[in-house]
């Protein structure tokens, strides 16, 4: 992607200027997006993105620059500028004379697509989205269906002054369906989506008609639903995307981005019991073809499976290079960024609550009156106070241990450290789902997951 001599020159220039560590990140994206509304293509777009980020460490101080200008002069200019900003503050290293002996590593193709994008023409995609559209029309009340397809191909090169040279390729595909149901002036919506690190075989793994059907069914359910109650109740959180609650309430609190500055309520707690013993929480960047997987992270470290919490005990944080420098914890291959315009920070990959032992019916049986959140939307957290929220897309009341009538429009709110202690039971039906996670280093693909989980008390933001 970039000549070895140029990369070597940039790194040498930086080290000679006093940087204690230098890294070049080069990236090339090809993206395509297609939107079909009520069976017709509304917009189709394609794009090339191409840029580089140069990151220099001066001890624990960081200087970052990015540019689209990948010429020799362009990159050296950017590097010289950064060095100038630091005013040669660091120690000048006479060894930084270029000619680094790179240890070259390339990805092994663990997540390579089985059906590459070029294998089918564009109209093939339109047909698949039309299947999603047809699938969503489960009843005459479904008036509008919108479906999206996103195709991403990302080639990455990371090289650094320690001699690492890593090339990785990530291919991702995502299908998204929105349905709008209408009856007597009332309007409700339903959504369903699937995303994986695959090519067009996404349509084989998740037939578009089925994804559409879920969106349509949900819109119809919400049309029949009455507003959710307001107050504090026991909640059974659905599996798969239900994992977003722990992504917010727990995951973000374990990233060194916050932990290193003690700006997380879970800083300095390794080895302590921080969650209910029913909780084992894992972040695994290696799962084949998972939405948040890659062979290397965006700092060139191999991704791995990191057990964060084992039976309630905190075992590890998610650590990037800078976080490691600040805390002394070992790097976990968690350095991620949206693209070359962001310096990496520690982020989640595919994060999930491990399967438990409680049979599903026994989970519900423990609830006399509460909420069952079957499908979730996104959420948010403040790591420093642990206050989090997440939106509910499809929910039901639980009455006397049974799933009862549907309710809509609830947001769940709470404090993470409290909520994870209130996990009463974890079922065994672990499943995962794709999401986009936003934080200091931008918006990145992450997977969340869990089996059905019972929490004894969460604030439900329905109508009082």
């Amino acid at each position: 992607m970039l000549a070895e001599t140029l990369v070597s020159d940039v790194l040498a220039r930086a080290v000679r200027g006093g940087a204690s560590f230098a890294e070049v990140y080069v990236e090339r994206w090809k993206r395509r997006q297609l939107r079909v509304l009520n069976n017709d293509v509304k917009e189709a777009t394609s794009g090339l993105e191409n840029g580089a980020g140069v990151r220099l460490f001066y001890g624990t101080e960081v200087a970052y620059a990015y540019t689209n200008d990948l010429t020799h002069e362009g990159l050296l200019d950017v590097t010289d500028n950064l060095v100038r900003v630091k005013g040669q503050a660091g120690k000048v290293d006479p060894k930084g004379r270029g000619g680094l002996d790179f240890r070259k590593t390339a990805s092994r193709g663990l997540h390579d697509p089985k059906v590459p994008f070029e294998e089918h023409p564009k109209p093939y995609r339109v047909e698949r989205l039309r299947e999603a559209d047809a699938g969503a029309r489960v009843a005459p009340e479904i008036r509008q269906v919108e479906s999206y397809l996103q195709e991403w191909e990302q080639d990455v090169l990371v090289a650094n002054s320690e001699g690492a040279w890593v090339e990785d390729r990530r291919v991702r595909t995502r299908l998204y369906v929105n349905a709008i149901a209408q009856e007597n002036g009332a309007v409700q919506t339903g959504t369903a989506w699937e995303g994986l690190s695959v090519g067009l075989e996404l349509f084989d793994r998740f037939p578009p008609r089925e994804v559409g059907k879920r969106a349509g069914g949900q819109a119809l359910t919400n049309l029949r639903a009455r507003p959710a109650p307001a107050g504090t109740f026991p909640v059974v959180i659905g599996n798969a995307f239900g994992g977003v609650i722990f992504h917010e309430a727990l995951g973000h609190l374990l990233e060194t981005t916050s932990v290193a500055k003690k700006a997380s309520v879970l800083s300095d707690m390794l080895g302590e019991e921080i969650a209910s013993p029913a909780v084992t929480y894992i972040d695994d960047g290696t799962t084949a073809h998972a939405w948040g997987s890659s062979e290397f992270d965006d700092e060139g470290a191999p991704t791995r499976r990191t057990v964060l919490i084992e039976r309630g005990i905190l075992k590890s944080y998610m650590v990037d290079r800078w976080g490691s420098l600040l805390t002394g914890y070992k790097v976990t291959g968690s350095g991620r960024r949206q693209d070359y315009t962001f310096a990496p920070t520690s982020r989640m990959r595919n994060t999930f609550i491990a399967a438990g032992e409680t049979p599903l019916d026994q989970l519900f049986a423990q609830v006399e009156f509460g909420l069952y959140t079957k499908e979730m939307r996104g959420g948010q957290v403040k790591p420093g106070s642990g206050e989090y929220n997440f939106g509910v897309q499809e929910a039901y009341l639980i009455r006397n241990g049974q799933i009862a009538e549907p309710v809509r429009g609830a947001m769940l709110v709470g404090k993470g450290p409290e909520t994870i202690r209130r996990v009463v039971a974890v079922s065994s039906d672990l499943s995962t789902a794709s999401g986009m996670c936003g934080s200091l280093s931008g918006s990145i693909p992450t997977e969340v997951g869990q089996p059905h989980v019972l929490v004894s008390a969460i604030v439900v933001g329905g109508e009082a």
């Binding site: 794009g47 993105e49 689209n68 315009t341």
Partner: protein
């Protein structure tokens, strides 16, 4: 090649092939200086730009873009856009007929200043934040400036460009008092470096979060709500898609077919004005080269207009308000510029809850129905005074019902900024809102 050469190259190639094309280029610059422990911790300096094309072939529209300005990449881009256009069934697409507009430099000297002075602003911001003994950690304290140069040209006569920039201060800190912990996450933007005041801004940030320490649970119920500008600005921002004519045309807005109807309290006037001198998101032209102008959307409660671009204006049979929005990487859409609710006579506190901050808007709002349920932080008001802070609750309702239930509007406008759009609101008093808590 340069961006200008790139635009000319693409238009020439399009003309050769008899294709109508519109080209938008953008060059963005970023400077961010982050302070930690009163020292420069991270500095980011950058430029990023690219070129995007919209083509119309036999009435069918296609898009593509590239950050690489080689002839090979631009040929690929034009071919992809043409291929993409062939997927469209509708054949009524067009590029607006347009004329040249004089280039406007809105940056001038406004971002001038030494790097050292800008770094010192971040350090000064953090320093003052840390002077508050309740501040336990500062996650970051930054100075940031953004500048972008946009140009639009088309085979149909569009030809305009402008340069725009802003500067801001932002910080996140953890504050504690006893067992209570709160994290602030604030920013403050201005049209020039000179008007930024790190000291005053730091005090505002710590005051905003500090007053929430020692919060008590709030009993579930219906209360009168006093929604502060920061909170109401983010709610308003989340619901601007209601005025987006693209959603109106596609039947995804609850405001469809309601022009002339009363949709809000008579105290509510909502305007979008890209020409506002103090606006953080002003621009002389939109993404199609149409000159910007002031548009009254809601006049004393009555819905007067949507935000439109050439395509949606034609579909709805209304005037084009000049709100086409596009980044070179995206498609032509519709978006506000300086979007604000006009200030009113003022709000007097009596009984209820001040909503100081709302969270989770991306997950808790539905722009198709207008429904919302979002996490909130606030202060209980008793006997006309702030009694104590409250936490761990959510507010819920429908945005259009909320607009109808507004009983008073504050007299001071405050601006929130994000994604090259600015949202201004005063405080609003809402007769009654649903609060879910303990």
């Amino acid at each position: 090649m340069t961006q200008e050469e790139g635009r000319r190259y693409v238009l020439a190639r399009a003309k050769e092939r008899g294709i109508a094309a519109e080209v938008l280029t953008e060059m963005g610059r970023e400077l961010t200086a982050r302070s930690h422990q009163r020292k420069l911790e991270q500095i980011t300096q950058a430029v990023r730009g690219g070129i995007g094309v919209r083509v119309v072939v036999d009435g069918r529209v296609g898009y593509a873009y590239s950050e690489e300005l080689s002839s090979a990449a631009l040929d690929w881009m034009l071919q992809e856009a043409t291929d993409n256009s062939s997927l469209q069934a509708e054949a009524s697409g067009f590029l607006p007929k347009s004329t040249a507009v004089t280039r406007k430099d809105m940056v001038g000297d406004s971002l001038r200043g030494s790097l050292e002075a800008k770094v010192q602003m971040a350090i000064g911001l953090e320093g003052t934040i840390r002077e508050d003994p309740r501040v336990k950690q500062v996650l970051f304290a930054s100075y940031a400036e953004r500048e972008w140069d946009v140009a639009v040209t088309s085979t149909e006569g569009a030809d305009g460009s402008y340069r725009r920039g802003i500067a801001g201060l932002m910080a996140s800190m953890v504050m504690a008092e006893g067992e209570s912990r709160k994290q602030g996450w604030d920013d403050e933007w201005a049209t020039s470096v000179a008007t930024l005041e790190p000291g005053r801004t730091a005090l505002e940030f710590t005051e905003r979060t500090g007053r929430l320490l020692g919060a008590k649970p709030l009993t579930t119920g219906r209360y009168r709500a006093y929604i502060e500008p920061k909170a109401f600005g983010s709610i308003l921002a989340a619901f601007t898609p209601l005025w987006n004519s693209k959603n109106v045309v596609e039947r995804k807005s609850p405001l469809a077919d309601r022009i002339g109807e009363t949709i809000a309290s008579s105290l509510v006037t909502i305007v979008d004005d890209p020409t506002l001198p103090e606006g953080l998101a002003g621009r002389p032209i939109d993404a199609e080269g149409t000159p910007g102008r002031r548009t009254v959307l809601v006049d004393r409660g009555v819905l007067r207009s949507y935000l439109t671009n050439s395509e949606t204006a034609r579909a709805l049979g209304v005037e084009n308000t000049g709100h086409a929005w596009r980044s070179y990487r995206g498609i032509v859409w519709v978006a506000p510029s300086n979007f604000f609710m006009a200030p009113g006579a003022g709000v007097t506190l009596s009984e209820g809850v001040i909503v100081a901050e709302v969270l989770g808007l991306h997950a808790g709002t539905n722009t198709v129905t207008g429904d919302f349920s979002v996490q909130a932080l606030g202060l209980k008001v008793e006997d006309g005074r702030v009694a104590y802070p409250v936490e761990n609750f959510a507010i819920a309702g429908n945005f259009l019902s909320l607009l109808k239930d507004i009983t008073a509007v504050g007299n001071e406008l405050k601006w929130e900024y994000g994604m090259r759009m600015a949202y201004g609101t005063p405080m609003v008093e809402v007769r009654e809102l649903s609060f879910a808590g303990a």
